[in-house]
């Protein structure tokens, strides 16, 4: 979708959604094909790439649903701004949580009985590093 088309649609404001079912049929077919691809890809081992592929395809599908089924493609831009804001703040939330998680080590289990590791006689985690992380 080029920016020209978007601008064109903003200019023809009076005409909202598509008035034929063809667009929706094509949208559904695209979504079903993407579902088949993501299920198929899950049976092949790409290592860490599997999660990336699955989430990438899921994001394409979600974008298609938002643009066509939810009419963001044809709507006034304010609705798209609200939708993007929701995902933007989710992204900030996600990013800081993972920065925090990455800075910790030696997370102890919730049912920890206070004893040191059973199998590996590793030294106790550095004080301060793990103490507040004791979930």
């Amino acid at each position: 979708m080029s920016t020209d088309q978007i601008i064109q649609h903003e200019e023809t404001d009076a005409d909202h959604e598509p008035h034929s079912s063809g667009v929706y049929v094509k949208t559904l077919i695209a979504l079903l094909i993407l579902t088949a691809i993501t299920v198929g890809a899950s049976y092949i081992d790409f290592g860490a790439g599997n999660v990336v592929i699955a989430l990438f395809i899921a994001t394409i599908k979600a974008t298609i649903v938002a643009l066509f089924f939810m009419h963001l493609r044809y709507d006034k831009p304010v609705n798209a701004v609200i939708a993007c804001a929701g995902f933007l703040f989710l992204g900030i939330f996600l990013m800081f949580c993972f920065i925090d998680f990455g800075s910790r080590d030696g997370l102890r289990p919730v049912n920890w009985n206070g004893k040191m590791p059973v199998e590996t006689a590793a030294p106790a985690p550095a004080p301060g590093a793990a103490a507040p992380a004791n979930k």
């Binding site: 989710l90 919730v110 009985n113």
Partner: protein
């Protein structure tokens, strides 16, 4: 305050359309305002589920091996079936909105009923998945029973890792909350199907159909992320 009540039969409604409330300049403005309100609600829904997604991501980072082994207990074909069912229901929903825009009352009711049927199929499949997990004790940590394929032991306690049950705690919380949204959606769809049958909607006024459609697509959109994260992770 009496002038703010929405009584469509009173003279403070506009004469051109009984649905047109007096504090809006045009029907279009009224429609757009309702839609912005719905989108704001949907943004809060994204954040509601977002918190659970972040929690799931953190626990997956903490228990990677346990999560991979635990997800093998989910039935991938059933998850894929439910994905297809929800995508089709989104399609029937948007066709319902299109029918409303075309003043086609019969098709609007038909597509709303088809959407409700798809939602029913989704919840039925979910019921079979849940009962299978209850039988196998694939449950949150307190009730989780170790499975033959579980390999990870907790280095501190020497017991079976907490991560297996954690996976199912998140599974039931997230799919449960999503299933609850499906249930609420079914009630809302039934409500607008009855109203549509009474002939309350037209191409001039179909706001409830459009807004509940948006809600329904968001529920579909959340499942689009739930499905690969739970059923397809490696």
């Amino acid at each position: 305050m009496s002038t703010t009540s929405v009584d469509i039969h009173q003279p403070h409604g506009h004469p051109d359309d009984p649905h047109h409330q007096h504090h809006f300049a045009t029907m279009e403005q009224q429609f757009d305002t309702s839609k912005i309100g719905m989108w704001l609600f949907l943004a809060t829904e994204v954040l509601l589920f977002g918190g659970l997604f972040v929690g799931f991501g953190l626990m997956q980072a903490r228990y990677p091996q346990e999560f991979v082994e635990a997800h093998e207990h989910l039935q991938r074909p059933l998850g894929a079936l439910n994905t297809v069912v929800l995508l089709v229901s989104s399609f029937t929903m948007v066709m319902g909105v299109l029918s409303a825009q075309r003043n086609d009352k019969k098709k609007l009711v038909l597509f709303l009923i088809l959407t409700i049927i798809c939602a029913g199929i989704f919840l039925t499949v979910k019921y079979f998945e849940y009962s299978h997990k209850f039988e196998e004790h694939l449950l949150p940590p307190r009730w989780y029973h170790a499975q033959p394929g579980d390999t990870v032991k907790d280095p501190y306690t020497g017991q079976i890792s907490h991560g297996y049950g954690t996976f199912f705690a998140f599974y039931f919380m997230m799919t449960g909350l999503h299933g609850f949204h499906i249930l609420v959606g079914m009630i809302l769809l039934a409500w607008i199907a009855v109203r549509a049958h009474r002939g309350e909607f037209s191409k001039e006024y179909y706001t409830p159909v459009d807004l509940i459609g948006l809600y329904w697509h968001l529920v579909d959109l959340i499942w689009i992320y739930l499905f690969p994260l739970y059923y397809l992770i490696k």
